[in-house]
Every structure is written in C-alpha cells, then in structure tokens.
C-alpha cells in the first residue's frame, strides 16, 4: 500500500535524522511521535516507528565517522575506526561501507526473521507464566551483566525501575499502592514521560552545561564506494557481525549497542593484526555497523512473538502495539498477520530506502549537524513538553517527565545508565504478574520454575550468569587477603 510506503519513508527519514543529531535518540523520537500515530492505521504506525528504529542505526554512524560524535549508543564504537578513516581522507569508503554493511545485515536479519517466525510462534505459544518469568529474569540478569560502566550501578538502576513499576494498581487484588494518595498515579508512571525525562530532558540539561564544541571535521567526501580490497577485508566481519548481532538482538537486554561492541571485540580478537584496530581500518566499521542493524531485526522476535520487549526502543514499539489494540505475543502472527508481515516487508523496503537515502544525502546530514545547539535544544525541550502532554492530555505527565528529567540529569552526572531502569520498569509488572500466576498454578511452591524444562534451563542460565559475575569479585577479595 502506497500510504504505508510513505510512512516507512517518513520513519526512516526521521530515524536517520535523530540518528544524526546527537541530542535526540530513537527512543525519545518514538516517544514524541507515539501520540501522533493515534490517527493513522496500526500497520502504518508500527511501520513508521520501526523505521525510526533502524533508520537511527544508519544515521548514528554518519556522525560517528565524520564528527567523532556518536549519534546514538549503537554507533559509539564506530567512532574508533570510522573517525580515524575520515582523518586519513577515507571518509567516503567508511560511510559507504557502513551503509552497505548495514544494508546487508539488515536484509539478512529480516530474512532470518521471516524463516524462524512461524516455528518460533508455535514454540512460544507453549510458554506459560513460569516461562515468561524465567525469560524476564534472564533478561534483566544479562542486561546488568553487560552493563557498560558498573554492574552494581546497573543493578541499582534495575531495582529503581522495578520499584517505579510497582506504583499504581496491584495486579492481583486491584488495590492502589505507592501512589502517595495521588489518584493521578493510580495507573502508575507513564512509560513515555519517563523515557522523555530520562533520555530527552536530561540530555538537554547535560548539554547546556557542557556547551559542546561543534567542530565539524571538514573533509572532502570523495567516492563513497569502497574499493575491492575494502570489500575483501569486510566481507567476513559483515557476516560475523550479522549473525552475532541477530543473536544478541534476540536476548533480552541485548540490542544494537551491545551487538556493536561485541562485534568490535570479536573482530579485534580474531584479527591477524589486532594492533591496527583504532587506527582507521575498515573491519572496525563494517563489523559493528552490520551487527547493530541485524540486532534490530533480531529484537523483533521477542517483541512480536513472545511479547517481551528487550530494550527501551522496542518498549516504545510494544506500547504502540498495545495502544493500537494489539497484544504482542505468539498469537499476533495469527490474529494480526498484516501487522507482522507488513512490518517485516516494510523493513525490507526501508533498508533499500535507507541505502538510497543515505549515500546521496550525507552532505545534507552534515549540514544539519551545524544547527546551533542554542536553537536545537530549546526545540527538543519544547517537543518533549508537548509530547508528554498530548499522550493523555494530562498535565501530570508533564510534571512526571520534568521530575525524571532531573533524575536523569543526576544519573548521567554520576554515570548511572538509563537502560536497565527503563527495561526493569517495563518488565516489572509482567515480572510480578507472571510470578504470582506461576505460584497460583503451582499452589504456592517455587518448584514450578524448575519443573518445566524451558523455564528450568532459563533459570539455570540466569543463575550461572549471576555466579560468573560474582566469582571474579570473590576471587579478587580472596587474593587481597
């Protein structure tokens, strides 16, 4: 349908734009645009929002390479070799390879998604509350384990997120709790105001403080097409990145950012010349850029088929699906095939659009980067205020957003990550519900989590992740003595 093509185009265009702009990430952009999608069909809405997601993965790399400012988290690693390539005058091939790598990985990711969707849905349908509970426990554990900065801080943030998610109505008895007598909090804290506060407002506050120097590395971008040697160097990193990214995308707590870091680490480890990484070699761009794109596709499996979003961006898509009256889960494929296959097809087309869009428009994106922050940041603030109000036409959401903007500001100052908080907040109610439901089913014994095979395996994996995180720290403590 042409209208969906239009929304797909709009999505990837906005996605690339927010990917380029360092101030706004895809999460904040999707949160802003969510209320606007009330008036279009659910298929168009999901297609557009998904477009923002993978579009941002493309856009983010452009600024990493040219300006050494990662547009969003998944492009941080691309700065290492991408920017060095640009300084050597090879910005063109770096941008080109990142676009082609993304395209190849994105397409391959979509193909794998198409292949596994049906068998996966059949398998997941057997999931009951115990399985859901174990999978979410594993997700949160892995998320904390993979924390960028400190696991303790990530753990604290996850707990904070869980506590926030308990505000509202008790899932079992329907009693109000933790709302401080504020009826406005009866439904809990909204996801959108929370995300806008922690990712949007805090970004503005931090940047006001820093007064980021806007120096664009003036380089001539000549010849975007990588050479034959570049291709030869890149083909295996792209393939490995694609598979690794897809797999990490599946994992709760995984996602594009972690996929790109993991891919870079692997390429460096197996390379015959690991010392050259960081000096501007193309493998350092091709691998991570492929990985973050296929991770995007991978993330759609738990979202659509299990009904568990694995990161903040997918959380936005999750609530978009709910708002449009669809329950993500194993039955989505059967009850709303148009949504599932429509989105998959749009991703396929969207990847082609991005390739066509990105190669000629790189010059324009660079120009956009020159918008002074004095104009950009008030605009972001303005849109956040409108966006949070327009979800429920409720001023309380605006207040909540501003409060979490401050919270987010201090979190950044003290290097606490937002991702574990958001994911724990999002999974909290599901976690609690599946826990209680499991105990209802078992008559009160915890054995149920270990009696059912899928749940038992997941739980054991989660426990071993916890142990492997704890053992080194015990050893360290032991050696100190």
């Amino acid at each position: 349908m042409p209208i969906n093509l239009f929304f797909c185009f709009l999505g990837v265009l906005i996605g690339t734009l927010v990917g380029v702009l360092p101030g706004v990430g895809p999460v904040a952009a999707m949160a802003l645009l969510l209320p606007a999608t009330f008036h279009i069909s659910p298929v168009s809405a999901i297609i557009m929002l998904a477009g923002i997601y993978y579009g941002a993965m493309y856009g983010g790399s452009t600024t990493s390479i040219l300006v050494n400012i990662p547009g969003e988290a998944a492009s941080v690693i691309t700065c290492l070799d991408g920017y060095q390539m640009a300084r050597k005058g090879r910005a063109g091939p770096a941008l080109g390879m990142s676009a082609f790598g993304s395209f190849i990985a994105g397409t391959a990711g979509v193909l794998i998604l198409m292949l596994v969707a049906h068998p996966m849905a059949e398998f997941v349908l057997k999931f009951g509350p115990p399985e859901y509970f174990s999978v979410m426990v594993l997700g949160l554990t892995v998320l904390i384990y993979l924390a960028h900065e400190s696991r303790i801080k990530a753990f604290i943030m996850a707990c904070f997120g869980l506590i926030l998610s308990f505000i509202g109505i008790d899932v079992l008895t329907g009693q109000h709790r933790l709302n401080l007598g504020w009826m406005e909090l009866a439904d809990g804290v909204g996801l959108v105001p929370l995300i806008m506060g922690i990712f949007g407002i805090s970004e503005v506050l931090i940047n006001m403080e820093h007064m980021v120097k806007q120096e664009i590395y003036e380089t001539k971008i000549s010849g975007l097409f990588p050479s034959k040697k570049d291709w030869a160097d890149s083909k295996w990193p792209i393939l490995r990145g694609t598979l690794l990214g897809f797999f990490l995308g599946l994992l709760p707590g995984g996602g594009p950012a972690i996929a790109s870091f993991a891919s870079y680490a692997i390429e460096k480890k197996i390379s015959r010349h690991p010392e050259k990484f960081g000096t501007g070699i193309i493998e350092g761009v091709a691998g991570p850029e492929s990985a973050n794109n296929s991770a995007t596709a991978g993330g759609f499996i738990p979202l659509f088929l299990i009904g568990i979003p694995t990161n903040g961006i997918l959380a936005m898509l999750f609530s978009a699906l709910l708002i449009h009256g669809m329950q993500p889960g194993p039955l989505l494929l059967k009850e709303h095939p148009d949504i599932f296959w429509g989105t998959i097809m749009s991703m396929y087309i969207g990847n082609i659009m991005l390739l066509v869009l990105n190669l000629p428009l790189i010059g324009m994106w660079v120009k956009i980067l020159k918008i002074p922050y004095q104009i950009l940041f008030p605009l972001i603030l303005f849109f956040c205020l409108i966006g949070s109000y327009s979800i429920n036409n409720n001023a309380v959401d605006v207040i909540i957003m501003l409060i979490f903007g401050l919270v987010g500001y201090f979190m950044r100052k003290f290097h606490y990550e937002g991702a574990p908080l958001i994911l724990a907040f999002l999974l909290g109610p599901m976690l609690e519900r599946s826990f209680i439901q499991s105990l209802n089913m078992s008559g009160g014994t915890y054995k149920i989590f270990f009696e059912r095979s899928v749940s038992a395996v997941t739980m054991v994996v989660a426990l071993s992740v916890v142990l492997s995180a704890l053992i080194p720290s015990f050893r360290k403590r032991g050696s100190k003595k």
Partner: protein, 328 residues
Amino acid sequence: MIWRIFIRRQMIFSTLFPVLFLVFSGLNASAQDFPARPIKIITPFAPGGVSGVIWHSMSESMSKVLGTPVVVENRPGGGTTLAYSLIASAKPDGYTVGHISFGFINTYLAYDVGYHPQKSYTYIGGVWRYNESVAVRSDAPWNTWDEFIDYSRKHPNEIRVGFSNPIGVNVAPVKWAAQKSEVKWKQVVFQSEAECITALLGKNIEAFPGAGVVHTLLRDGRAKMLLALTIDPIPGYPHVPTFKEVYGMTALNAGGLIGPAEIPEPIVKKLGTALQEGIKDPAFQKTLEKVGAIPRWRNSKDFYQDVENALSNSRQFLKDLGLLKANK
C-alpha cells in the same frame, strides 16, 4: 408593617418571575437548540481499547443524526475510575457524555471511587450486550458445564481457570459459581482477555470467561463454550445454558451511553434517538461483532433498571466472595 410585607412579597414575585422565566426559557432554548456545539464522549480506556473502537464507529452515525461533530475522548486513568468520575462531575447539558460498561458497578462495590451508580448519572441508553461466556479448548474432555463442574469437584485444585481481571463482571459470577458448586480451581489472574486466550491455547489454563472468545476462538473451532454469562442464550449457541438457568442469578455485561445526573429529558431523548439510529448501521454492528457483543437497545428507563439489577446481583456475588467493601 403590612405594607412592608406587601412590598417585599411584590419584590419577591417581581424578581422571581423573570428568574424563573429565564431558567425555563433557557432550559427550553438549550434543549431545543441541542446540539449547538460538538458533543464529547469520554471513554475510560486508552486509544485502541474496545470501548474506543465501539464509540468511534457509533460517533459517525450519531453526528449524522445530530448534525454536529461527535468526538471520542480517551481518558484512561485510575483503572477506569478517572473517566467515570469525570463524567459524573461534568455539566449536565448533554455535551459531555460517556461510555459505560457494567464493570463500573463491580469497581464501585469493591473500591473507593468518586461516583455512585444510582446517583451520579443520567442513563441515556443501553446500546450493546457482551457475549460473555466460559470457554474451554475444543480438545477438552468436558462438553457441558455440568461435566466440567463434576470433574472439578472430583479433582480439587487440578483445573486451572484464568481470569482477565480480579473482580470484573465476567469474573465475579464465575468465582461465585465455583463457591456455590463447591469446587476448587487454581485461579490465575491475567491482565487482559488476550493473555487468557494465549494461556488457554498454550495449555497453561483449562478455562476462562470472556467476551472476545466468541469471535476469535469459537468460530474456527479452537474452543467450545460451556456456560453463557448472559440472561438470554448467545446467538448461535442456543444449547449452552445461561448463568440464569443454572444459578438463578443474573450475570450481564452491557454497554451504553451515560451522562452526568440531571440532564434535561428532551436532550436525553435526542441523544437516545441518535443512538437508536446508530445501532442500525451495519458497520457499527460489524464492530460490535468484532469485540464479542451484540446490539441491545435499552431506553433510558430500562437501562437504569438493568444497572440496578446488576448492582444487586454483583453485590451478592462480591459479598459471598468476601470482596464487598464495607457500607456498599
């Protein structure tokens, strides 16, 4: 003195009459001119929720009949109580009206809420009835409600029954029935009917009550219906006993339009006519079918009667289950 009283009386009359005149003429004028501006229908669910879908469809025919835009406003919050309180406190001029489905009665009976079903509202008209029913998978060994109850009684704590909420209109009667029939189930509370459907098909529960099943599961043979939670049989399932037949109590989940208390009679009539026209629209009937409901027109008086009836039945259910809030 007499003279003074006379004067005062005259003053009273002379001021009272114009005031009364203004009030009545004003009322008449507003009722006659109604509707002079857009009408707002408040629904307590997020956009895309069942009630929003129904009213979007209905609002189109209503605006055609009334000749003014009818807009649907989603005011989710407080587990539906925000919207119901908003409707109760709106100006009774007919321009702010709202969705009602009978869950509001159970919410009122079990929690502290800002409305009273009998005092807070004008009941404009009942529009539909949900085909609430208890369903099991089609491969289940029980073919009738009696068999199901019989098995449950012989195997306590074996059957797992899912519920889409803790105390709703389709939940309380079933929990009550279990108590009445002296059976013990493992009761698993889910967040929505969609989750119950997934759990049923994934063999994590054996049965659950809901309205959407008729549309999604029964038609393509993935489930079978054991008990109708309605007062008359569900169309297409004449042999399935109703709750009334089995337990002698009324289980009913209906939906319609309400407004704040004391909306003038003529305005209620006009809105009612628009609703009646809207029900005839095939597109609207199709929408109802999708959410597991059928058209059921009830005029202002009948609808209020339904609410009172549901109130007394629900009070009994919740009281026996020990979920009734004191003084309700």
